[in-house]
Protein backbone atom coordinates (compact mmCIF):
# COMPACT_ATOMS: atom_id res chain seq x y z
CA UNK A 1 0.00 0.00 0.00
CA UNK A 2 2.90 2.32 0.85
CA UNK A 3 6.36 1.81 -0.53
CA UNK A 4 9.46 3.97 -0.28
CA UNK A 5 12.31 2.79 -2.47
CA UNK A 6 15.72 4.26 -1.72
CA UNK A 7 14.19 7.65 -1.03
CA UNK A 8 16.36 10.65 -0.34
CA UNK A 9 14.94 14.07 0.40
CA UNK A 10 17.22 17.09 0.46
CA UNK A 11 15.51 20.44 1.03
CA UNK A 12 16.53 23.51 -0.90
CA UNK A 13 18.63 24.76 2.01
CA UNK A 14 20.77 21.59 1.72
CA UNK A 15 19.23 19.97 4.78
CA UNK A 16 19.02 16.23 4.25
CA UNK A 17 15.76 15.10 5.84
CA UNK A 18 15.74 11.50 4.61
CA UNK A 19 18.59 9.51 3.17
CA UNK A 20 18.29 6.25 1.24
CA UNK A 21 15.12 5.16 3.04
CA UNK A 22 13.33 1.99 1.91
CA UNK A 23 10.08 0.88 3.53
CA UNK A 24 7.27 -1.48 2.53
CA UNK A 25 3.90 -1.22 4.26
CA UNK A 26 1.16 -3.67 3.33
CA UNK A 27 -2.54 -3.08 3.08
CA UNK A 28 -4.22 -3.00 6.49
CA UNK A 29 -1.02 -2.53 8.49
CA UNK A 30 -0.70 -0.17 11.46
CA UNK A 31 2.76 1.34 11.57
CA UNK A 32 4.37 3.76 14.02
CA UNK A 33 7.15 5.96 12.73
CA UNK A 34 9.15 7.12 15.74
CA UNK A 35 12.23 9.19 16.33
CA UNK A 36 13.30 12.50 17.81
CA UNK A 37 12.27 15.84 16.34
CA UNK A 38 14.03 16.46 13.05
CA UNK A 39 14.56 12.76 12.37
CA UNK A 40 12.44 12.95 9.19
CA UNK A 41 9.00 11.75 10.33
CA UNK A 42 7.09 14.74 9.06
CA UNK A 43 9.04 14.76 5.82
CA UNK A 44 7.92 11.19 5.26
CA UNK A 45 4.28 12.21 5.74
CA UNK A 46 4.74 15.15 3.37
CA UNK A 47 6.27 12.90 0.73
CA UNK A 48 3.35 10.48 0.98
CA UNK A 49 0.93 13.35 0.36
CA UNK A 50 3.04 14.71 -2.47
CA UNK A 51 3.36 17.97 -0.64
CA UNK A 52 7.05 17.46 -1.25
CA UNK A 53 8.83 15.51 -3.97
CA UNK A 54 11.58 13.02 -3.25
CA UNK A 55 15.00 14.19 -4.41
CA UNK A 56 15.96 10.61 -5.25
CA UNK A 57 14.11 7.31 -5.22
CA UNK A 58 10.45 6.39 -5.71
CA UNK A 59 7.43 6.76 -3.44
CA UNK A 60 4.39 4.56 -4.08
CA UNK A 61 1.01 5.13 -2.45
CA UNK A 62 -2.04 3.00 -3.30
CA UNK A 63 -0.21 1.59 -6.30
CA UNK A 64 0.77 4.96 -7.77
CA UNK A 65 4.30 6.23 -8.26
CA UNK A 66 4.07 9.75 -6.87
CA UNK A 67 6.97 11.08 -8.91
CA UNK A 68 5.13 10.03 -12.07
CA UNK A 69 1.67 11.42 -11.41
CA UNK A 70 0.95 14.90 -12.73
CA UNK A 71 -0.03 17.71 -10.39
CA UNK A 72 -3.43 17.49 -12.06
CA UNK A 73 -3.91 14.02 -10.49
CA UNK A 74 -2.61 14.89 -7.03
CA UNK A 75 -6.08 15.77 -5.67
CA UNK A 76 -7.32 12.31 -6.67
CA UNK A 77 -4.42 10.72 -4.82
CA UNK A 78 -5.28 12.69 -1.70
CA UNK A 79 -8.88 11.51 -1.80
CA UNK A 80 -7.47 8.06 -1.07
CA UNK A 81 -5.26 9.29 1.74
CA UNK A 82 -6.79 10.67 4.93
CA UNK A 83 -4.71 12.96 7.12
CA UNK A 84 -4.80 13.77 10.83
CA UNK A 85 -2.55 16.35 12.45
CA UNK A 86 -1.47 17.40 15.91
CA UNK A 87 -3.30 20.73 15.60
CA UNK A 88 -6.56 19.17 14.25
CA UNK A 89 -6.81 21.76 11.43
CA UNK A 90 -10.50 22.37 11.99
CA UNK A 91 -12.29 25.46 10.69
CA UNK A 92 -13.41 27.45 13.72
CA UNK A 93 -16.44 28.97 12.02
CA UNK A 94 -17.88 25.61 11.07
CA UNK A 95 -19.65 23.04 13.26
CA UNK A 96 -18.43 19.46 13.63
CA UNK A 97 -20.93 18.44 10.96
CA UNK A 98 -19.87 21.24 8.62
CA UNK A 99 -16.16 20.54 9.12
CA UNK A 100 -16.67 16.96 8.03
CA UNK A 101 -19.16 17.73 5.25
CA UNK A 102 -16.74 20.38 3.90
CA UNK A 103 -14.32 17.59 2.98
CA UNK A 104 -16.96 15.86 0.87
CA UNK A 105 -18.43 19.04 -0.52
CA UNK A 106 -15.14 20.29 -1.95
CA UNK A 107 -14.56 17.05 -3.81
CA UNK A 108 -17.98 17.40 -5.37
CA UNK A 109 -19.98 14.73 -3.51
CA UNK A 110 -23.74 15.13 -3.87
CA UNK A 111 -25.81 16.36 -0.95
CA UNK A 112 -27.58 13.06 -0.31
CA UNK A 113 -24.25 11.30 0.12
CA UNK A 114 -23.09 14.02 2.52
CA UNK A 115 -26.29 13.91 4.55
CA UNK A 116 -25.95 10.18 4.93
CA UNK A 117 -22.23 9.74 5.53
CA UNK A 118 -21.42 12.66 7.81
CA UNK A 119 -23.74 11.76 10.73
CA UNK A 120 -22.70 8.14 10.24
CA UNK A 121 -18.97 8.83 10.61
CA UNK A 122 -19.47 11.27 13.49
CA UNK A 123 -21.48 8.60 15.26
CA UNK A 124 -18.65 6.15 14.51
CA UNK A 125 -16.02 8.40 16.17
CA UNK A 126 -18.32 8.87 19.17
CA UNK A 127 -19.62 12.36 18.49
CA UNK A 128 -23.16 11.44 17.45
CA UNK A 129 -24.53 13.97 19.94
CA UNK A 130 -22.17 16.84 19.01
CA UNK A 131 -22.95 17.38 15.34
CA UNK A 132 -23.73 21.05 15.80
CA UNK A 133 -20.94 21.93 18.23
CA UNK A 134 -18.27 24.40 17.12
CA UNK A 135 -14.60 23.45 17.66
CA UNK A 136 -14.23 25.87 20.59
CA UNK A 137 -17.11 24.08 22.32
CA UNK A 138 -15.29 20.74 22.06
CA UNK A 139 -12.41 19.33 24.10
CA UNK A 140 -9.07 18.60 22.44
CA UNK A 141 -9.87 14.91 22.20
CA UNK A 142 -13.25 15.65 20.66
CA UNK A 143 -11.71 18.02 18.16
CA UNK A 144 -9.23 15.31 17.17
CA UNK A 145 -12.18 12.94 16.72
CA UNK A 146 -13.80 15.42 14.35
CA UNK A 147 -10.56 15.57 12.41
CA UNK A 148 -10.38 11.76 12.27
CA UNK A 149 -13.99 11.70 11.08
CA UNK A 150 -13.09 14.19 8.37
CA UNK A 151 -10.06 12.10 7.35
CA UNK A 152 -12.16 8.92 7.16
CA UNK A 153 -15.44 10.17 5.74
CA UNK A 154 -14.35 9.58 2.16
CA UNK A 155 -13.27 6.02 3.07
CA UNK A 156 -9.56 6.40 2.29
CA UNK A 157 -7.23 3.45 1.76
CA UNK A 158 -4.51 5.05 3.85
CA UNK A 159 -4.65 7.22 6.95
CA UNK A 160 -1.60 9.33 7.74
CA UNK A 161 -1.45 10.66 11.29
CA UNK A 162 1.26 13.15 12.21
CA UNK A 163 1.53 13.34 16.03
CA UNK A 164 -2.23 12.99 16.50
CA UNK A 165 -1.88 12.77 20.28
CA UNK A 166 0.74 15.50 20.57
CA UNK A 167 -1.65 17.98 22.16
CA UNK A 168 -3.64 15.55 24.28
CA UNK A 169 -3.35 14.26 27.84
CA UNK A 170 -2.49 10.54 28.32
CA UNK A 171 -6.06 9.37 28.95
CA UNK A 172 -7.47 11.20 25.96
CA UNK A 173 -4.56 9.92 23.88
CA UNK A 174 -5.54 6.36 24.73
CA UNK A 175 -9.10 7.05 23.57
CA UNK A 176 -7.80 8.45 20.28
CA UNK A 177 -5.58 5.39 19.82
CA UNK A 178 -8.57 3.11 20.41
CA UNK A 179 -10.40 4.99 17.70
CA UNK A 180 -7.47 4.72 15.26
CA UNK A 181 -7.24 1.03 16.03
CA UNK A 182 -10.92 0.70 15.20
CA UNK A 183 -10.37 2.52 11.90
CA UNK A 184 -7.42 0.19 11.21
CA UNK A 185 -9.52 -2.89 11.85
CA UNK A 186 -11.94 -2.03 9.05
CA UNK A 187 -9.01 -2.29 6.65
CA UNK A 188 -7.51 1.19 6.56
CA UNK A 189 -3.73 1.22 6.40
CA UNK A 190 -2.41 3.58 9.09
CA UNK A 191 0.94 5.27 9.29
CA UNK A 192 1.35 7.29 12.47
CA UNK A 193 4.33 9.51 13.20
CA UNK A 194 4.75 10.01 16.93
CA UNK A 195 7.13 10.34 19.82
CA UNK A 196 4.57 9.32 22.42
CA UNK A 197 6.46 6.46 24.05
CA UNK A 198 3.63 5.22 26.29
CA UNK A 199 1.30 4.76 23.35
CA UNK A 200 3.80 2.96 21.14
CA UNK A 201 4.72 0.64 23.99
CA UNK A 202 1.07 -0.09 24.79
CA UNK A 203 -0.08 -0.80 21.21
CA UNK A 204 2.68 -3.27 20.26
CA UNK A 205 2.44 -2.54 16.54
CA UNK A 206 5.13 -2.38 13.90
CA UNK A 207 7.65 0.35 14.69
CA UNK A 208 9.95 2.08 12.22
CA UNK A 209 12.54 4.23 13.95
CA UNK A 210 14.15 7.11 12.14
CA UNK A 211 17.25 8.91 13.25
CA UNK A 212 18.78 11.75 11.31
CA UNK A 213 17.05 10.69 8.12
CA UNK A 214 17.98 7.01 8.30
CA UNK A 215 15.88 3.97 9.23
CA UNK A 216 17.68 2.57 12.27
CA UNK A 217 15.06 -0.02 13.26
CA UNK A 218 12.06 -1.72 11.65
CA UNK A 219 10.43 -4.09 14.09
CA UNK A 220 7.04 -5.77 14.09
CA UNK A 221 5.22 -5.66 17.44
CA UNK A 222 7.89 -3.26 18.66
CA UNK A 223 8.25 -0.75 21.45
CA UNK A 224 9.40 2.86 21.34
CA UNK A 225 13.06 2.29 22.08
Amino acid sequence: MISLQRVTKIYRNDVTALEDVSIEIDKGEFVFVVGPSGSGKSTMVRLLLKQEEATKGDVFVAGKNLSKITSFKVPHLRRNVGTVFQDYKLLQDKTAFENVSFALEVIGKPKHVIDQRVPEILEYVGLGDKLNAYPDELSGGEQQRVSIARACVNRPLVLLADEPTGNLDPNTSVDIMRLLDKVNRIGTTILMATHDQAIVDAMRKRVIELDNGHVVRDQSRGVYA
Partner: protein, 306 residues
Protein backbone atom coordinates in the same frame (compact mmCIF):
# COMPACT_ATOMS: atom_id res chain seq x y z
CA UNK B 1 -26.54 21.98 -9.48
CA UNK B 2 -24.94 21.46 -6.09
CA UNK B 3 -21.66 22.54 -7.62
CA UNK B 4 -22.99 25.81 -8.98
CA UNK B 5 -24.68 26.55 -5.67
CA UNK B 6 -21.37 25.84 -3.92
CA UNK B 7 -19.45 28.23 -6.16
CA UNK B 8 -21.88 31.06 -5.65
CA UNK B 9 -22.14 30.55 -1.92
CA UNK B 10 -18.35 30.66 -1.64
CA UNK B 11 -18.19 33.74 -3.86
CA UNK B 12 -20.82 35.58 -1.79
CA UNK B 13 -19.00 34.69 1.41
CA UNK B 14 -15.73 35.95 -0.09
CA UNK B 15 -17.26 39.28 -1.12
CA UNK B 16 -18.79 39.76 2.30
CA UNK B 17 -15.58 38.95 4.13
CA UNK B 18 -13.57 41.22 1.88
CA UNK B 19 -16.09 44.06 1.75
CA UNK B 20 -13.93 47.17 1.82
CA UNK B 21 -11.25 45.88 -0.50
CA UNK B 22 -13.85 44.46 -2.86
CA UNK B 23 -15.51 47.87 -2.89
CA UNK B 24 -12.20 49.55 -3.74
CA UNK B 25 -11.67 47.11 -6.60
CA UNK B 26 -15.21 47.66 -7.81
CA UNK B 27 -14.91 51.45 -7.78
CA UNK B 28 -11.62 51.36 -9.63
CA UNK B 29 -13.12 49.02 -12.19
CA UNK B 30 -16.06 51.44 -12.44
CA UNK B 31 -13.86 54.50 -13.04
CA UNK B 32 -11.63 52.63 -15.47
CA UNK B 33 -14.53 51.25 -17.49
CA UNK B 34 -16.35 54.60 -17.38
CA UNK B 35 -13.32 56.35 -18.88
CA UNK B 36 -12.91 53.56 -21.39
CA UNK B 37 -16.54 54.01 -22.48
CA UNK B 38 -16.11 57.78 -22.47
CA UNK B 39 -13.16 57.59 -24.86
CA UNK B 40 -15.24 55.44 -27.21
CA UNK B 41 -18.14 57.94 -27.04
CA UNK B 42 -15.86 60.91 -27.67
CA UNK B 43 -14.48 59.20 -30.75
CA UNK B 44 -18.05 58.49 -31.87
CA UNK B 45 -19.15 62.10 -31.31
CA UNK B 46 -16.29 63.44 -33.38
CA UNK B 47 -17.05 60.91 -36.06
CA UNK B 48 -20.61 62.29 -36.19
CA UNK B 49 -19.37 65.87 -36.42
CA UNK B 50 -16.92 64.99 -39.17
CA UNK B 51 -19.56 63.12 -41.14
CA UNK B 52 -21.91 66.04 -40.93
CA UNK B 53 -19.29 68.54 -41.96
CA UNK B 54 -18.03 66.54 -44.88
CA UNK B 55 -21.53 65.42 -45.81
CA UNK B 56 -22.89 68.94 -46.31
CA UNK B 57 -19.81 70.50 -47.58
CA UNK B 58 -19.56 72.60 -50.61
CA UNK B 59 -16.26 73.39 -52.14
CA UNK B 60 -16.09 76.97 -53.29
CA UNK B 61 -13.88 77.85 -56.20
CA UNK B 62 -13.57 81.64 -56.25
CA UNK B 63 -12.99 83.12 -59.63
CA UNK B 64 -10.84 86.07 -60.47
CA UNK B 65 -12.23 89.09 -62.28
CA UNK B 66 -13.12 89.57 -64.98
CA UNK B 67 -15.19 86.43 -65.31
CA UNK B 68 -16.21 85.28 -68.70
CA UNK B 69 -18.83 82.68 -69.58
CA UNK B 70 -16.34 80.57 -71.43
CA UNK B 71 -14.09 80.09 -68.37
CA UNK B 72 -17.10 79.17 -66.24
CA UNK B 73 -18.25 76.53 -68.74
CA UNK B 74 -14.78 75.07 -69.21
CA UNK B 75 -14.10 74.82 -65.47
CA UNK B 76 -17.56 73.36 -64.77
CA UNK B 77 -17.06 70.60 -67.33
CA UNK B 78 -13.65 69.69 -66.01
CA UNK B 79 -14.82 69.68 -62.39
CA UNK B 80 -17.82 67.49 -63.25
CA UNK B 81 -15.40 64.94 -64.71
CA UNK B 82 -13.96 64.32 -61.24
CA UNK B 83 -15.48 61.26 -59.63
CA UNK B 84 -17.40 62.26 -56.53
CA UNK B 85 -18.47 65.64 -57.79
CA UNK B 86 -22.25 65.72 -58.13
CA UNK B 87 -23.10 69.29 -59.13
CA UNK B 88 -21.31 72.46 -60.06
CA UNK B 89 -23.25 75.72 -59.78
CA UNK B 90 -22.16 79.14 -60.91
CA UNK B 91 -22.91 82.00 -58.52
CA UNK B 92 -22.71 85.31 -60.29
CA UNK B 93 -22.04 88.55 -58.51
CA UNK B 94 -25.70 89.35 -57.80
CA UNK B 95 -26.34 85.97 -56.22
CA UNK B 96 -23.14 86.06 -54.21
CA UNK B 97 -23.99 89.50 -52.96
CA UNK B 98 -27.48 88.43 -51.82
CA UNK B 99 -25.96 85.49 -50.03
CA UNK B 100 -23.45 87.73 -48.33
CA UNK B 101 -26.18 90.14 -47.25
CA UNK B 102 -28.26 87.31 -45.84
CA UNK B 103 -25.34 85.87 -43.99
CA UNK B 104 -24.48 89.12 -42.25
CA UNK B 105 -28.00 90.51 -41.94
CA UNK B 106 -27.47 91.28 -38.30
CA UNK B 107 -24.12 92.94 -38.76
CA UNK B 108 -24.87 96.00 -40.88
CA UNK B 109 -21.35 97.21 -40.34
CA UNK B 110 -20.23 94.56 -42.85
CA UNK B 111 -23.01 94.90 -45.37
CA UNK B 112 -22.95 98.72 -45.42
CA UNK B 113 -19.23 98.91 -45.96
CA UNK B 114 -18.90 96.17 -48.53
CA UNK B 115 -19.93 97.06 -52.06
CA UNK B 116 -21.17 94.19 -54.19
CA UNK B 117 -18.34 94.83 -56.63
CA UNK B 118 -15.72 93.40 -54.29
CA UNK B 119 -17.60 90.17 -53.62
CA UNK B 120 -16.12 87.44 -55.79
CA UNK B 121 -18.11 85.18 -58.05
CA UNK B 122 -17.67 81.47 -57.47
CA UNK B 123 -18.35 77.92 -58.53
CA UNK B 124 -20.16 75.96 -55.80
CA UNK B 125 -19.30 72.30 -55.99
CA UNK B 126 -21.30 69.63 -54.19
CA UNK B 127 -19.50 66.46 -53.43
CA UNK B 128 -21.22 63.09 -53.40
CA UNK B 129 -18.10 61.52 -52.05
CA UNK B 130 -16.32 63.12 -49.17
CA UNK B 131 -12.61 63.62 -49.11
CA UNK B 132 -12.22 64.72 -52.71
CA UNK B 133 -10.95 68.19 -51.94
CA UNK B 134 -7.39 67.42 -52.82
CA UNK B 135 -8.39 66.32 -56.33
CA UNK B 136 -10.12 69.62 -56.96
CA UNK B 137 -7.16 71.65 -55.80
CA UNK B 138 -4.85 69.41 -57.81
CA UNK B 139 -6.95 69.81 -60.94
CA UNK B 140 -6.87 73.57 -60.65
CA UNK B 141 -3.17 73.54 -59.87
CA UNK B 142 -3.62 75.24 -56.52
CA UNK B 143 -0.98 75.04 -53.87
CA UNK B 144 -0.09 76.83 -50.72
CA UNK B 145 2.90 79.10 -51.16
CA UNK B 146 4.73 81.16 -48.60
CA UNK B 147 5.46 84.67 -49.77
CA UNK B 148 8.36 86.91 -48.84
CA UNK B 149 6.58 88.19 -45.75
CA UNK B 150 6.29 84.67 -44.43
CA UNK B 151 2.49 84.53 -44.95
CA UNK B 152 1.00 81.41 -46.41
CA UNK B 153 -1.55 81.83 -49.16
CA UNK B 154 -2.95 79.78 -51.94
CA UNK B 155 -2.01 80.18 -55.54
CA UNK B 156 -3.75 78.47 -58.43
CA UNK B 157 -2.16 77.82 -61.80
CA UNK B 158 -5.51 77.54 -63.63
CA UNK B 159 -6.33 80.83 -65.31
CA UNK B 160 -9.41 82.56 -63.96
CA UNK B 161 -9.28 80.87 -60.56
CA UNK B 162 -8.48 83.07 -57.58
CA UNK B 163 -8.47 80.43 -54.86
CA UNK B 164 -10.30 77.36 -53.60
CA UNK B 165 -11.85 77.37 -50.15
CA UNK B 166 -10.55 74.07 -48.95
CA UNK B 167 -11.95 72.27 -45.91
CA UNK B 168 -9.22 69.69 -45.82
CA UNK B 169 -7.28 71.64 -43.27
CA UNK B 170 -10.31 72.04 -41.04
CA UNK B 171 -11.04 68.35 -41.28
CA UNK B 172 -7.45 67.49 -40.52
CA UNK B 173 -7.61 69.66 -37.44
CA UNK B 174 -10.87 68.12 -36.34
CA UNK B 175 -9.40 64.70 -36.89
CA UNK B 176 -6.31 65.60 -34.87
CA UNK B 177 -8.49 67.00 -32.09
CA UNK B 178 -10.56 63.81 -32.04
CA UNK B 179 -7.45 61.75 -31.89
CA UNK B 180 -5.86 63.75 -29.09
CA UNK B 181 -9.01 63.83 -26.99
CA UNK B 182 -10.08 60.25 -27.35
CA UNK B 183 -6.52 58.95 -27.15
CA UNK B 184 -5.81 60.82 -23.95
CA UNK B 185 -9.05 59.65 -22.37
CA UNK B 186 -8.28 56.17 -23.68
CA UNK B 187 -4.77 56.44 -22.23
CA UNK B 188 -6.15 57.34 -18.83
CA UNK B 189 -8.63 54.50 -19.21
CA UNK B 190 -5.81 52.04 -19.90
CA UNK B 191 -3.93 53.17 -16.80
CA UNK B 192 -7.11 52.91 -14.74
CA UNK B 193 -7.83 49.48 -16.21
CA UNK B 194 -4.35 48.38 -15.19
CA UNK B 195 -4.97 49.61 -11.64
CA UNK B 196 -8.35 47.88 -11.67
CA UNK B 197 -6.55 44.66 -12.59
CA UNK B 198 -4.08 45.22 -9.75
CA UNK B 199 -6.82 45.94 -7.23
CA UNK B 200 -9.02 43.02 -8.24
CA UNK B 201 -5.95 40.76 -8.15
CA UNK B 202 -5.18 42.13 -4.72
CA UNK B 203 -8.65 41.40 -3.35
CA UNK B 204 -8.39 37.87 -4.66
CA UNK B 205 -5.01 37.49 -3.03
CA UNK B 206 -6.25 38.90 0.26
CA UNK B 207 -9.25 36.63 0.09
CA UNK B 208 -7.01 33.64 -0.49
CA UNK B 209 -4.75 34.74 2.33
CA UNK B 210 -7.67 35.14 4.72
CA UNK B 211 -8.80 31.66 3.79
CA UNK B 212 -5.41 29.99 3.58
CA UNK B 213 -6.34 27.52 6.32
CA UNK B 214 -9.47 26.53 4.47
CA UNK B 215 -7.55 26.25 1.21
CA UNK B 216 -4.93 24.13 2.96
CA UNK B 217 -7.62 21.74 4.15
CA UNK B 218 -9.22 21.67 0.71
CA UNK B 219 -5.87 20.62 -0.75
CA UNK B 220 -5.42 17.94 1.92
CA UNK B 221 -8.78 16.34 1.30
CA UNK B 222 -8.21 16.34 -2.43
CA UNK B 223 -10.11 19.31 -3.83
CA UNK B 224 -8.99 20.09 -7.37
CA UNK B 225 -7.31 23.37 -8.17
CA UNK B 226 -10.34 24.50 -10.12
CA UNK B 227 -12.63 23.75 -7.23
CA UNK B 228 -10.45 26.02 -5.11
CA UNK B 229 -9.98 28.74 -7.68
CA UNK B 230 -13.38 29.11 -9.29
CA UNK B 231 -15.05 30.91 -6.35
CA UNK B 232 -12.24 33.47 -6.42
CA UNK B 233 -12.47 33.82 -10.18
CA UNK B 234 -16.22 34.40 -9.91
CA UNK B 235 -15.53 36.91 -7.15
CA UNK B 236 -13.18 38.86 -9.44
CA UNK B 237 -15.69 38.58 -12.27
CA UNK B 238 -18.50 39.88 -10.05
CA UNK B 239 -16.43 42.84 -8.86
CA UNK B 240 -15.41 43.77 -12.36
CA UNK B 241 -18.89 43.28 -13.86
CA UNK B 242 -20.52 45.34 -11.10
CA UNK B 243 -18.01 48.07 -11.97
CA UNK B 244 -19.02 47.68 -15.62
CA UNK B 245 -22.72 47.93 -14.78
CA UNK B 246 -22.10 51.12 -12.81
CA UNK B 247 -19.99 52.52 -15.67
CA UNK B 248 -22.71 51.78 -18.23
CA UNK B 249 -25.31 53.39 -15.98
CA UNK B 250 -23.10 56.45 -15.49
CA UNK B 251 -22.53 56.81 -19.23
CA UNK B 252 -26.28 56.64 -19.85
CA UNK B 253 -26.93 59.22 -17.14
CA UNK B 254 -24.21 61.45 -18.58
CA UNK B 255 -25.76 61.11 -22.01
CA UNK B 256 -29.26 61.93 -20.72
CA UNK B 257 -28.36 64.79 -18.40
CA UNK B 258 -25.40 66.40 -20.16
CA UNK B 259 -25.56 65.55 -23.85
CA UNK B 260 -29.34 65.78 -24.16
CA UNK B 261 -29.43 69.16 -22.46
CA UNK B 262 -27.16 70.47 -25.23
CA UNK B 263 -29.57 69.32 -27.88
CA UNK B 264 -31.65 72.51 -27.82
CA UNK B 265 -28.78 74.96 -27.54
CA UNK B 266 -26.73 73.82 -30.51
CA UNK B 267 -29.06 72.52 -33.22
CA UNK B 268 -26.29 72.41 -35.82
CA UNK B 269 -24.22 70.03 -33.72
CA UNK B 270 -24.93 66.32 -34.23
CA UNK B 271 -25.00 64.53 -30.85
CA UNK B 272 -24.60 60.92 -29.80
CA UNK B 273 -27.82 59.00 -29.33
CA UNK B 274 -28.85 56.20 -26.97
CA UNK B 275 -27.98 53.68 -29.69
CA UNK B 276 -24.41 54.97 -29.69
CA UNK B 277 -24.19 54.28 -25.95
CA UNK B 278 -25.74 50.83 -26.41
CA UNK B 279 -23.21 50.11 -29.14
CA UNK B 280 -20.29 50.46 -26.72
CA UNK B 281 -21.85 48.28 -23.99
CA UNK B 282 -20.37 45.02 -25.36
CA UNK B 283 -16.92 46.60 -25.43
CA UNK B 284 -17.22 47.68 -21.81
CA UNK B 285 -18.36 44.19 -20.79
CA UNK B 286 -15.52 42.65 -22.77
CA UNK B 287 -13.02 44.94 -21.05
CA UNK B 288 -14.55 44.01 -17.67
CA UNK B 289 -14.19 40.29 -18.39
CA UNK B 290 -10.60 40.83 -19.51
CA UNK B 291 -9.86 42.74 -16.29
CA UNK B 292 -11.24 39.83 -14.24
CA UNK B 293 -9.42 37.14 -16.19
CA UNK B 294 -6.06 38.93 -16.07
CA UNK B 295 -6.55 39.75 -12.38
CA UNK B 296 -7.40 36.11 -11.70
CA UNK B 297 -4.31 34.89 -13.50
CA UNK B 298 -2.04 37.32 -11.69
CA UNK B 299 -3.74 37.07 -8.30
CA UNK B 300 -3.70 33.30 -8.15
CA UNK B 301 -0.40 32.57 -9.78
CA UNK B 302 1.34 31.92 -6.49
CA UNK B 303 -1.47 29.77 -5.17
CA UNK B 304 -1.55 27.41 -8.08
CA UNK B 305 0.97 24.87 -6.87
CA UNK B 306 -0.53 21.89 -5.12
Amino acid sequence: MARIEYFFRETAAGLRRNGVVAFAAMSTAFIALFLFGLSLLIAREFQLVTTQLTGNVEVQVYLSDPVNRETVGRLSDRLLDIRGVSTVEYWDRAKSCDHFKNLFENQPIFTENTPCSVIPTSLRIHLAEVGRFSEITALLGCEVVIDDDGDAHQQCAEPGVRYVADYQELLDRLDALTRVLSLSVFGIAVIMLASAVALVANTLRMGMFARRKEIGIMRLVGATNWRIRVPFLIEGMVESLLGAAAAIAALFLGKVFIVDSLRGTAPWLPLIKNTDVIAIVPWILLAAVLVAVIAGTIGMRRFLDV
